[in-house]
Point group: C2
């Protein structure tokens, strides 16, 4: 992984009718966001879910790859007719599409010549300029085209490959966070949170999330910053504020 | 609910840093997509997840409300400083923002005058032209501004309110689906699926999704269409195809 840089961001583009129809519960967004955030200091700034339609994929790839440092696509790189991600990305960047020699070799070795049928061969078709992202669980590689990383939609396979993206990424500054769970409702603390947020508006983001679990009502106050020093100040301010209002702190 | 119309579509706009950071696993996308699809015949054509940043919310509201028949936002309508959805929507449509009389009354009745503090009052602030979406579980209403429905981020509350959106929606044609689970791998059926998809390209969408569960490998072939007749034809073609290749059908 390359040198640290400030404010590195990414977009996630989920390509798949099965997510849009509600048939499948997406699990890749939370996994990718969390992995990029914690392991690479890369902030996910936008996520889009779009159907398997070539012109829509092309439009989104062009827009997001210009707008953000990196784009991660999931889905549409398998062997069937509805897998059109690789071809659409080649079109988006106007680069040649065809059998990628290294990917072809990997797949031919994996399946053996006799079982290497047309469907399987299709998974070796991608932009010729792409760099491969190795897949330890089912061989068919992901690939990086310019700043766009294309990964499969099946979460277990995606998870097994993700570490192989690291060498291509420039690391951003790590975002630290502090979560304080308190035994109150949001409306009791909204004024105080607003004051503290304004005081640290340039360096810390404070979010407030109500929860109802195990029969308990409460609020998670989550502060996030690349500065550990400012984060410690906010934490102290919040704790003082909650204590002065006699609000019970459940967990920090 | 109003009369049936063909091809009614919607976008979902999830507003929330907690989803982008990977801290919270979104559950609203699958619920809303599935509810719109099955109960209203409305197809979700795009989903976006964006941060709690006013100018980004405004830009997306303007774009999506023009592009699709309906937009459903989730998140950012609570009492704290990071709840800026209502204000941003008013700005996006250049309409007046302030205390919505009906919402104010509902909240004042719910909390009682003594406990109706500033944080709680904030939840009655919204575009003045908005129509309310009643909330049976925690009173604070959602609201509809032009073709944009704003709902809370907490899934249990959102779920309790969703039926109250129905009266504002024009129903689309119901999308029917047939799922055939088979005991093979995608690359064994890719050519045949492509042929059948091409034959029905104007009326049926066929998707193919590999699965690994209970130690079994298989593929779910999902066909979707507003035409029951074409769907039945595709089902017959698929079954004949699988039988001729001696592929075991696990479940229809």
């Amino acid at each position: 992984m390359k040198k640290k840089k400030k404010n590195v961001n990414a977009a996630i583009l989920i390509i798949g009718n099965e997510i849009l129809s509600g048939r499948t519960q997406d699990k890749n967004i939370a996994f990718l966001s969390s992995w990029l955030n914690h392991n690479c200091g890369i902030i996910v700034s936008e996520v889009r879910i779009i159907p398997d339609v070539e012109k829509i994929i092309i439009k989104n790839i062009r827009f997001l790859s210009k707008q953000f440092n990196y784009v991660f696509t999931t889905g549409g790189i398998g062997p069937t007719h509805d897998d059109i991600t690789a071809h659409s990305i080649a079109k988006a960047f106007k680069v040649k599409y065809g059998f990628h020699k290294e990917a072809y070799k990997i797949l031919e070795n994996y399946y053996g010549k006799a079982a290497f049928n047309d469907g399987r061969k299709k998974m070796a078709k991608m932009p010729l300029v792409a760099k491969l992202i190795y897949n330890p669980s089912s061989a068919a590689p992901g690939f990086k085209t310019k700043n766009v990383f294309s990964l499969p939609g099946v979460p277990s396979i995606l998870n097994s490959m993700i570490e192989n993206c690291k060498k291509y990424l420039v690391k951003g500054l790590k975002v630290h966070s502090v979560t304080i769970n308190i035994n109150t409702v949001e409306s009791n603390i909204s004024k105080q949170l607003d004051v503290i947020q304004k005081k640290y508006k340039d360096s810390v983001d404070i979010g407030s999330y109500p929860f109802f679990r195990l029969g308990k009502i409460g609020v998670s106050v989550v502060s996030r910053s690349t500065s550990k020093i400012d984060l410690a100040k906010v934490k102290k301010d919040l704790i003082n504020e909650f204590k002065s209002k006699k609000i019970k702190i459940l967990k920090i």
